[in-house]
């Protein structure tokens, strides 16, 4: 187990190194560098100034040389400066990461709490009105466009009822818990609804498959009650494919709630990465994307370890 963990960690480290080069290269190859973008918004900037600034920012050097320079600095813990925020990259990332962790963590947990029981109930009562109702909810969840759902919530709860703040992380001049929690209600609700739909569908199909297995019939024949059969036997095995999907989802959650963050003006990682790519803020985009990659790798490793717990037949030899 320890050997397996060490092996996977080393693999992940190597992959991150390769990814850092690939991402750096792709960002560097995008048309228009930060100075070009700066110049396009300033009608008075001269060609001489553009050349001077490109030299100052090192943009006149070959991309491999720039990457080597970045890597050497990063190894020493210096991830560079953000062009768009004029602060060190880690200083920009840290609060965004916290915001995203709260938003994603809450909606992920809520989605699990809602979706897994609903998926199981739908699977236990297939083709009944309960199943149809849950399916309708699930389909609505993942087919609603996120921007539409978010705007609908704002129009209902902020514009019409005036109950909740329309966006942001905190009201200006307030830093209390309740104000912060109020700002989270709508983005968390929107994300939970969008995430839960998928999980319901996966749980339902995995459970239907598991309930057809011989060991379930054996458990029933042994006189085990319906709850014991479903939760004690079928659910544990049905969770293996669901965990795979959740692991993949978890990594993308940190960079994937872009639309929700944009509409609710929520200062999270998705919006940060998007803005940094558009604004040629290479350092932030690179570290943000690497973080999302690392998280996907880590959640997949966690999923592999959870398989062993869910199914003792799986070994890590």
């Amino acid at each position: 187990m320890i050997r397996y963990f060490a092996h996977r960690t080393a693999e992940a480290g190597l992959l991150l190194l390769v990814m850092s080069f690939v991402i750096y290269l792709l960002l560097g190859l995008m048309p228009g560098d930060p100075i070009d973008i700066m110049a396009s918004g300033d009608p008075d900037i001269t060609s001489a100034d553009i050349a001077r600034l490109k030299a100052l920012y090192g943009l006149d050097r070959p991309i491999t040389e720039r990457y080597a320079h970045w890597l050497a600095d990063a190894a020493g813990g210096d991830f560079g400066f953000s062009r768009l925020h004029s602060r060190p990259v880690l200083e920009v990332l840290a609060p965004r990461l916290w915001n995203t962790t709260v938003l994603m963590g809450l909606s992920f947990i809520l989605a699990l709490v809602i979706a897994i029981p609903l998926g199981v109930i739908a699977a236990v009562h297939p083709r009944t009105w309960v199943d149809y109702g849950i399916n309708l909810f699930a389909f609505a969840g993942f087919s609603l466009p996120s921007f539409w759902l978010a705007l609908l919530l704002i129009l209902l709860f902020s514009v019409t009822l005036g109950w909740l703040p329309a966006g942001g992380v905190q009201s200006v001049g307030r830093d209390d818990f309740f104000d912060w929690a109020l700002h989270l209600i709508m983005p968390v609700t929107a994300l939970t609804l969008l995430t839960a739909g998928r999980i319901i569908r996966f749980t339902r199909s995995a459970m239907i498959e598991a309930l057809r297995q011989d060991y379930v019939r054996t458990a029933e024949a042994k006189g085990l009650g319906p709850f014991g059969v479903v939760v004690g036997h079928a659910l544990q095995n049905a969770m293996i494919p669901v965990v795979t999907i959740l692991a993949l989802d978890f990594g993308t959650l940190f960079s994937g709630a872009l639309v929700i963050e944009q509409i609710f003006s929520y200062q999270g990682m998705g919006k940060l990465i998007y803005d940094s790519i558009l604004g040629s803020d290479f350092n932030v985009a690179l570290v943000g994307l690497l973080f999302a990659t690392a998280l996907t790798l880590a959640s997949n490793l966690a999923a592999d370890l959870i398989y062993g717990w869910l199914d003792p037949r799986i070994s890590y030899g």
């Binding site: 048309p31 009608p43 001489a48 050349a51 600034l53 992380v169």
Partner: protein, 561 residues
């Protein structure tokens, strides 16, 4: 029943936290919350230039000189503009025998940084030092290159020695003064990393950085900036006790925030697009003041003159007469974005109302195309003798709804005279970063130029400004326009001090532009300002010196001012 409990719970939470519907509106008279669509990328006034940054800084500081709402150059931090007439501008001979100019400015007596330190010539010398340093990161260093030396006369008065004489000799709009008492130690310690370590980026709420009507008291990166009155401000005391500038990047959410009362107004300088404002006006126009201000953003079609089809002036003239720009302005923009008849805005004093104008004339367009050899009509498209179709590519920024709409109208209108237009759009960063900058568009490129009053279009029309691999793609003459007469005129205008002679030169420039048509003028873009009914005193400018430069004149109507 469950819903009832949930509702009661929410009501209790809201009551406990003090958040109630309309709470924001109740406080609106003391506080003004402004919605903008982008958060400033930096606060240092000389390192980068950005619309929202300029908007915020206009409230916390002032440039030495700038343009007012009537597009006239005025002193903002100085007491009087130096002119040849008042003797504060004196032409002097430089060592190389050419003419330079000495300009004497006096800083406003009461100008004081927010921490009580007076704004003095020491700050002027420091700003110049930063501007001249090759590694300080100042983006637009042209003005500092032109300043040969500075003579300090006293604490408030100084003389700039400039290396040339131009008609706008006394405009030092880019000279944004820096507080030496705060910034000098940071700069001197490590000039190369000054751009990262400056207090503007690390400690923007330091009152010593602000001498305008307001000072920044809170900055939440990417979200909002809170401003409160600056006790050291020398001018009219501002009305609002607090101004909050909130960044909401999604324009639909920006509208929803306005309707919910989370923000009071949307800044025209960095808010929603004109088509969104028109739609908003139809739905909620009775609740807000909506003001459209045409400005110095010139929307046009650059034509690649290296394309043999477009190199023929008759084809260019046929193209402009083949479209109904007036109808586009009326139908798509309800007349709020006036048709451009050249690159000079009608509100600019150098605009010549007698400049040749083109309107829709399909017969004239057809005749011009016939004369140019495009006579053979096959399948609705004109061909020349060699069988080449009259086909052109029309490009713009993908995702810009207004431009894409205009593009489709133009395509259908040109079809009437047998011109086959293929639309090919690209994301803005590809379009501006590669396609226009490296002249990779083969036909027409639709985009806008931002300028200032009496802005000499040297960078877009002078033949030395054509980007090429040899000059490292420098310059903005993307059309490849070459006209020795125009080159001479552009150089002469810059040097001509006599206003009347300059007016004549501008007339000539606009006539050549209309005759040569290196670009097809479309319209001047308008900013859409959305204000609450109670807000008064805001005067949109339509140029880069935003309405916030007069923030001290803004007030709420029903409170005595």
């Amino acid at each position: 029943m469950r819903l009832g409990w949930a509702t009661w719970f929410l009501v209790l939470v809201l009551a406990f936290t003090g958040v109630q519907p309309g709470a924001a509106r109740a406080a609106a008279k003391e506080e003004l919350v402004i919605g903008v669509s982008q958060f400033p990328t930096a606060f240092h006034p000389n390192l980068e230039s950005h619309v929202t940054q300029g908007y915020v800084l206009a409230m916390t500081s002032r440039a030495f000189t700038g343009y007012d709402a009537d597009w006239e150059l005025v002193c903002m931090l100085c007491t009087e503009l130096p002119t040849l007439e008042n003797g504060k501008a004196v032409i002097e001979k430089l060592e190389d025998g050419t003419d330079g100019i000495a300009l004497t400015y006096t800083i406003v007596e009461g100008a004081t940084w927010g921490d009580g330190t007076p704004v003095t010539t020491e700050d002027v010398l420091f700003t110049d030092e930063v501007g001249k340093h090759p590694k300080s990161g100042v983006s637009n260093a042209e003005l500092y290159r032109q300043i040969l030396s500075i003579d300090v006369i006293d604490q408030k008065t100084f003389t700039l020695h400039i290396d040339r004489v131009s008609f706008e000799y006394n405009a030092i709009n880019d000279f944004e003064i820096l507080p030496a008492h705060i910034e000098r130690p940071i700069f001197e310690e490590d000039p190369e990393n000054y751009r990262h370590r400056t207090a503007y980026e690390t400690d923007f709420t330091n009152p010593g950085l602000h001498f305008g009507p307001y000072k920044a008291v809170e900055v939440s990166s990417g979200a909002h900036i809170v401003l409160e009155p600056n006790e050291t401000w020398w001018g009219k005391p501002p009305f609002f006790k607090r101004i909050v500038i909130k960044a909401i990047e999604n324009t639909a959410a920006l509208e929803a925030n306005l309707l919910s009362g989370s923000i009071d107004m949307i800044a025209g300088e960095a808010g929603i697009t004109l088509d969104q404002a028109l739609a908003f006006e139809k739905r909620h126009g009775d609740q807000y003041q909506i003001v459209y201000k045409p400005g110095l953003i010139y929307e046009h079609l650059d034509l690649n003159l290296d394309n043999p089809i477009l190199a023929d002036k008759r084809v260019r003239k046929a193209l402009i007469q083949g479209i109904d720009r007036e109808a586009v302005s009326q139908q798509l923009f309800e007349g709020h974005q006036p048709v451009a008849h050249g690159n000079v805005h009608p509100l600019d004093w150098v605009y010549d109302k007698d400049v040749p104008k083109y309107s829709e004339n399909l017969d004239a367009a057809a005749a011009l195309l016939d004369a140019a050899g495009w006579t053979d009509m096959q399948g609705g498209v004109r061909h020349n003798e060699a069988g080449t179709p009259l086909a052109l590519e029309l490009m713009t920024t993908a995702g810009n709804r207004t431009r894409e709409l205009v593009q489709q109208v133009l395509q259908s209108q040109w079809k009437r005279i047998g011109v086959d237009i293929t639309i090919r759009n690209e994301p803005a960063r590809v379009f501006f970063g590669e396609t226009t900058a490296k002249r990779k568009f083969t036909g027409l490129a639709m985009f806008a130029w931002i300028s200032s009053p009496e802005n000499v279009p040297r960078s877009t029309l002078h033949s030395e400004e054509i980007p090429s691999a040899e000059n490292g793609w420098a310059g903005q003459n993307y059309t490849g326009y070459r006209n020795p007469h125009m080159d001479q005129l552009l150089e002469d205008i810059e040097r001509e001090l006599d206003r009347e002679k300059r007016e004549q030169m501008w007339h000539e420039l606009q006539t050549i532009y209309a005759e040569d048509l290196p670009a097809i003028p479309l319209y001047f873009r308008a900013d859409a300002h959305i204000w609450p009914k109670w807000l008064k005193g805001v005067v949109p400018t339509g140029h880069l010196n935003s309405s916030a430069n007069a923030v001290e004149t803004w007030y709420a109507e029903d409170v005595p001012n």
